[in-house]
């Protein structure tokens, strides 16, 4: 189950990191950040920082390791927000 608002926020963050030849429309729940969206793996740390700022959470190294796809990221965000409350 995906939170539509979280997905929209995440999409908004990720689009900056897309290579020129990948459109925003390519970002779906199953997208793998590196293998499918062709995002430079060095930029994953920047996406993590942006996510932290946008959602007011903190992601640890192991969260980042698990964050392969958009769905992974959304699950981690949901979990962190739940833990916070």
């Amino acid at each position: 189950m995906v939170d539509d608002q979280h997905f929209a926020q995440l999409k908004d963050i990720v689009k900056l990191y897309l290579p020129e030849d990948v459109s925003v429309g390519a970002i779906v729940e199953d997208s793998n950040f590196v293998k499918e969206l062709n995002i430079n793996s060095a930029n994953l740390v920047d996406i993590v920082l942006d996510v932290e700022d946008a959602f007011g959470i903190r992601l640890e190294n192991e969260d980042m390791d698990k964050m392969q796809t958009v769905r992974d990221a959304l699950n981690i965000i949901a979990q962190k927000l739940q833990d916070k409350n």
């Binding site: 900056l16 930029n43 740390v45 920047d46």
Partner: protein, 425 residues
């Protein structure tokens, strides 16, 4: 193998002009780029004036992607990428396609220190136990070779891509290194140039050495006075200059316009021996460098038509003129025309050599010789060696022949490059 090397593209990001057209206009009309900076006054600097290119935020978007601009806090990268990309386009070259680099094109783009503002930002985060918040771009904006790495990726160069560093000789040294690589047949095209960050963290150390003028904060455009009796120190500057060097065969093959030929050059050091030191040049080394450059270029002393000096506006200017005069065995009315670009720009430090080479090369395109600003009162020791007519105050019409450009840097290092009007032989 000793192939001819020519200059086919120029790019510039200077305190008195961003882009070739603006820069040329300023050089032609003697427009200074030196201004008062409130930031330096607020920090209690003795010298509160500097030369800093004015870059509109919107202009950056033509050179950088939105992602590259995010968190970009390295003025040297901004200046260098703008000048380097402009030079490439001016040469009529394209960026390499997405899948294949251009194996025959390389980059030697120097700097002194890169991204000092980014470094400061990073240090604050680290000291606050927050290294994890640095993100991915702190390394590439602060590694010295960041500038050549940015340009290499933007243009897609597949030959040598590197950064040289030899203090204020950096820019001129890069031209010679690029020329040598093409001469040796290891590359067809080399983008050469250099950049220097701006701001108090760059200039503060020089202010502390008391080698910057402190009495011109109210009239900044008069402050940089190369060859003048009233010279009182160099005005700190910043920016970038870039040139595309190309084998003559490649240039002719694609019908490129040719600004000038790079006939030769030499690089050496005074070893901080004799009167040479970390901060002062060994005159013997300077003269050897000039003579070795002429030899490399196969040019006679009598053939030198124009000199663009290092001439920073310190007490060392007279010594530099003596070195030119003794090395070339020429004086009085027989001395070549000489100009000092720093009168208008200040001392752009690691960028000075490349910025001044670009200024020198524009003289070939336009058939003129740029005048000298702020030296109506020539230093008496200089007047003993050179007739005042050889140091024009205003830009004059003159078809340049052989031009010698030298730069000297901390560490007692020297570089001298020889250009000539391109002639089919």
């Amino acid at each position: 193998m000793n192939r001819r090397v020519v200059v086919t593209g120029l790019g510039i990001c200077a305190p008195n002009g961003v882009g070739l057209a603006n820069f040329y206009d300023s050089m032609l009309n003697g427009k200074s780029g030196i201004m008062f900076h409130q930031e330096l006054a607020d920090l209690g600097f003795g010298c509160q004036i500097a030369g800093k290119p004015e870059i509109q935020e919107s202009l950056k978007e033509s050179y950088f992607t939105a992602l590259q601009l995010r968190g970009l806090n390295s003025s040297g990268i901004v200046y260098g990428v703008m000048a380097g990309t402009d030079a490439w386009m001016d040469a009529g070259l394209d960026k390499a396609n997405k899948d294949q680099p251009d194996w025959d094109s390389g980059i030697i783009f120097g700097t002194g220190i890169l991204g000092i503002d980014k470094l400061r930002e990073s240090i604050y985060l680290i000291d606050d136990n927050n290294a994890r918040r640095l993100g991915s771009n702190s390394v590439m904006q602060t590694m010295a070779s960041g500038i050549s790495a940015y340009l290499g990726g933007i243009l897609g160069c597949g030959n040598q891509v590197t950064t040289n560093s030899s203090a204020c000789a950096t820019g001129t040294e890069g031209v010679i290194m690029g020329m040598e690589r093409i001469r040796a047949g290891k590359a067809e095209r080399m983008l050469v140039g250099s950049c220097n960050d701006s701001g108090p963290y760059i200039w503060g150390g020089f202010d502390a050495m008391r080698i910057l003028p402190s009495k011109y904060n109210d009239n900044p455009q008069e402050a940089s006075r190369p060859m003048s009796a009233s010279a009182s120190g160099f005005v700190p500057g910043s920016g970038a200059g870039a040139m595309v060097l190309e084998s003559l065969a490649s240039a002719l093959g694609r019908g490129a316009k040719i600004y000038a030929e790079v006939l030769g050059g030499a690089i050496n050091s005074g070893g901080q021996r004799g009167i040479g030191s970390m901060t002062a040049p060994n005159s013997e080394a300077v003269q050897r460098c000039i003579l070795e450059a002429l030899k490399d270029a196969r040019v006679e002393k009598s053939e030198v038509d124009i000199i663009n000096g290092h001439l920073t506006a310190t007490s060392k200017d007279a010594e530099e003129i003596r070195n030119w005069s003794e090395a070339l065995e020429r004086s009085g009315k027989d001395f070549p025309f000489i100009n000092a670009t720093k009168g208008l720009l200040g001392h752009c430090l690691a960028a000075s050599g490349s910025v001044e080479c670009v200024a020198s090369l524009l003289q070939y395109r336009e058939g003129l010789f740029f005048g000298n600003r702020n030296c109506h009162d020539l230093h008496p020791e200089i007047l003993e060696l050179v007739d005042a007519s050889r140091i024009p105050l205003k830009t004059i019409s003159h078809k340049p022949g052989i031009l010698a450009k030298a730069s000297f840097g901390f560490g007692d290092v020297n570089a001298c490059v020889i250009f000539n009007d391109y002639k089919e032989i």
